[in-house]
Symmetry: C5
Subunit: 276 residues, 5 copies
């Protein structure tokens, strides 16, 4: 049912983030030739995962002890995510990767504005929420919307050097409770929130994914930028918009450098891998 | 005693969820023949656990680092759950399974409506709460109810591809406190809550189990669906009903793909196992 | 000093709960003869710990990943608890036990009613709180009480199949704060709370132990029953009494099956051990 | 600066608590002669650490899984604490000790009463807070105080059998906030709090150390007694004084038996070590 | 955009803190010659990291079980931080270092006063927030400021013996919420807060770094002093300023002794390493 309290969402890529620590000591204990072979096979396997609109796997280094290496898998289905997870667990590099964290989500476009518009439009047509006619008309409108934003639902991986990932919730406190606000209040707060994002549109590519029902937080946020200080500026400025002040809750932050799969052997040899 | 503040519950299957990480590296280090033998023996043992109404053990993969493999044991008693746990710990596959999480609960039907009705009905007959006559009459009514819903208490395992499990509490906050509400307030909130569930009746099979007195949260929720995005839609929509807005607290979410025991060897060989 | 704000307590058994995971793989890697020998020696050692009123050690299995095996040591002193802990760490079974949790406490009878009565009685005799005469008279009264309830302070281990252990606190919140209530308010809430317990007197044996100053929570609760669903019914019903609604805070729950030491070898061979 | 909102403190011993689990299995796998040699060398090393007013290291067993063995190092400086930590990490016993917890603090005497008195006294002399004259006069007064309480700042280790350690904070809540109270309110609450302690003066030796700026809690508390039940009585009674009701927050509790270094070999052979 | 609600910040050194436990047992199991060689090579590598304004890596011991050894890397970019992390993971000492914690941040000067001044100044010139002219004029002013404080943005590592590191947040509570205060309220609170710091200016060198968007807390604080008790005095006194009372939230504290890279071999041989 299209409940007028609930903002509609459109779903795109299925996403799996995987964060690993590298067992450097065990890796370096291998003979050089075996290291070379394992690195090359791993690159080949990851290259095989990169089939554009069908599937993409991005690599980044990570700073600090929460991980050395992060994979972001973009897939068309949970089946394909599961396939990626199994494949990764069996890579020649896998014995040297210790799993520390992960995140399961689906790329999502929240449609606060559009939800209000469609409800109003169908109401004007005299359709009643929950009636079969209403539901079909609503589904048809959403289908239209989906076509319109398809490239954003299945976006191409942003080729920017710096990556930042964090999960977040909307607060459900005893007093301050996002879900206890009216649709209009939430829509207004999201509008203000979006405006801060727009100031950074050129400098940061933002990817929001929904994980309600999939993982421990409600949303995942990926930021990509050419200058890491932009992450700090953006997230700090957002902290002052009212949606974040009273309702934003944040998990851990993972920060690192995106790099090309072909650079993995160099990384495993001790170089900072490049994005080529 | 049948306390009029306390909703009656009916209990069915005893449930044990077990989440494991697979020690892929150790597994793959085995000779192929031994892997085949261990996988086959494990399948045979799990098949032996599947005796319909007597006992069932379901398997799913999991996405992310919170586990690779989840078993859900449905049994008639805690004795039988303990037997399942011990048997699993001694499977030929067990040395390659690292326990990460678990959940002990009992399938439960909450009877808010019926509790009110029976209390009213017995009151009209002039019986007094706590009197022997009242208690016996109440027990008899519950016995009747139990017969009526027996198939839901010992439901057949839903054969749907996607699985989602999470534990939850009703908030017991300093201000917002579920247990501080009157029976009528709670009954009303549960009615609204149930309505959201009903919109998804075709798309999602829901299984609620009680774990007060057994495990760290008050309830466990299993969802089964043919499309994983339905989990997100359902749990998100529920977040806006008043029972959830002010009183719902959630633990971790585990998401994965249900599969047939016979597919376990294929999984252990690197395939995404099917539900056949 | 006998502070009129503080309910008196009487202390009995010193208690140590120890929860272990069994390293099944390493255990099963032993030759059968060695397993037999180690199991038999372990049984003999535990039997040696069971000397009735002097010392008792109870065994249970546990359900789920929070432990496989729980020992509850009943002793006359902390010295004897320490002795039990050291002895257990050196059992032939010890190398196969991974410590996951524990709890240090002293069996305790809370004396809300009696505290009020004695303060009133001594007040009527014209004695002043804190005076030497008052303190001695109070101590003498408590000595009397202790004699009266000695069998409950050093109770015999309940021989019931199902066990449930959990620690708990009284809330010390910014608004709802148990310790900020008057003695009379607390006494009244405890009276109501005790009444729920009494409804289950036949079905559940309850053992309360105090751990303020010893371990991370304020009290430990052990429940013993012939039917595990009784745990759920009891703890759920209690959740609606006002002492629990506003002031009860709960830690983890461990649930399992009590069994006889003589059944340990059978358990280690994969059977569900019996309580004989 | 001597800020009139801030109670003055006097500092004595630098303290490092270290809690370890003993790797019993590895220890017992050593040949008896090696065990004897390692134990003896460890005793000699610890004895070398016990030079009275210069440095002392106390040993206790611990009850439960949070540790088997606790060292408390009393030193004159952080340099000396670091030396103790390094020395301990290189003891012949060290390979058999798994570090589980620790605490860094400085023995502290809080001077609420005296702070008020000195501020008043200097005010009467017409000195202004923050002026050079004021600061020098204040420092001189504190120097005097320090001489007066020197034996309490560098107390001799209490030779009592039972030990209890826990860290604590003063609550900094959104409503109840210790640091938001006036100096007079805090001084009054501390006076009441101290009175409870005084009732137990004979039965319990209390040692307070400050860890703001050093470790994760604000204070550490060590209690020493001849009867462990006294810990429960004292900490319970304190829970009812207003400073604790509204502002006391507690970390984990570690409880055990103090023993003499010379008894370490007996302990490592399975005996309960004595305090001789 | 220069949002008048958001205080401007200036950024300097990129910082990575890394905390490790030393695997003493494995280290000492090495032949003495290998230990010497590994220690010497590690010193050479760290010396190679110390190129003044280009890059510096500081070493400290740590007290307690949260780590033995802390590295603080000062770099000009995240690329260079990543290079340091990879280089460290491949040092001859690395196999003997177990990563326990880390922190990613950027040295930051908060400009509350200056932000207000520039907004006022540009307003007086008739420029409108958000207009291109305004933004350019603002950027130019900040450029000026940056030149003025460059030595503080790329400060030389304070050569003081004692080090204390902790992360912190400004509270975002349901009632007390830093980000819900007006710019003027925050500026006023920061002014008061800064005054406490100034009393300790001679005794403590303070280094604030921002980690919003990079790591799990909002800021990291490093303190350097010649007397560790100063940490306690400073952090305690700050706890009474209103910004901290109501809005300061603190993570773990790591405390230790700074030392010279050349002293690493002595440390690894069991000495307390010096700062030479």
């Amino acid at each position: 049912m299209h409940d007028p309290r609930v903002p509609e969402t459109l779903e795109g890529w299925c996403l799996l983030h995987q964060m690993f620590r590298i067992r450097w000591q065990a890796w370096e204990a291998l003979p050089a030739a075996e290291r070379r072979a394992r690195a090359a096979e791993t690159v080949a396997a990851i290259n095989g995962m990169n089939r554009g609109q069908e599937s993409t796997t991005a690599l980044s280094t990570l700073l600090g002890h929460k991980g050395d290496l992060m994979f972001i898998h973009f897939r068309q289905s949970f089946e394909a995510l599961q396939e990626a997870q199994i494949a990764l667990a069996r890579l020649p590099l896998a014995p040297f990767l210790e799993p520390l964290a992960s995140y399961v989500s689906v790329l999502e476009l929240g449609m606060y504005e559009m939800t209000g518009i469609i409800h109003a439009r169908l109401g004007e047509r005299g359709l009643k929420t929950g009636s079969e006619e209403f539901e079909q008309a609503f589904d048809a409108e959403m289908e239209e919307q989906k076509k319109r934003v398809l490239p954003r639902l299945f976006l191409e991986l942003p080729r920017r050097r710096y990556v930042c990932f964090y999960p977040m919730n909307k607060r459900r406190g005893e007093e301050r409770n996002w879900y206890g606000l009216s649709f209009e209040e939430r829509a207004q707060l999201m509008r203000e929130h979006g405006m801060v994002g727009r100031h950074y549109a050129g400098a940061v590519t933002q990817m929001i994914s929904g994980s309600i029902g999939f993982d421990d937080w409600e949303w995942g946020v990926d930021l990509f930028a050419d200058d890491p200080v932009t992450f700090k500026k953006l997230v700090y400025e957002m902290r002052f918009d009212q949606a974040t002040v009273w309702y934003g809750e944040f998990g851990s932050f993972w920060t690192g450098l995106q790099f090309s799969a072909s650079e993995l052997p160099a990384y495993l040899d001790g170089a900072v891998p490049r994005l080529v």
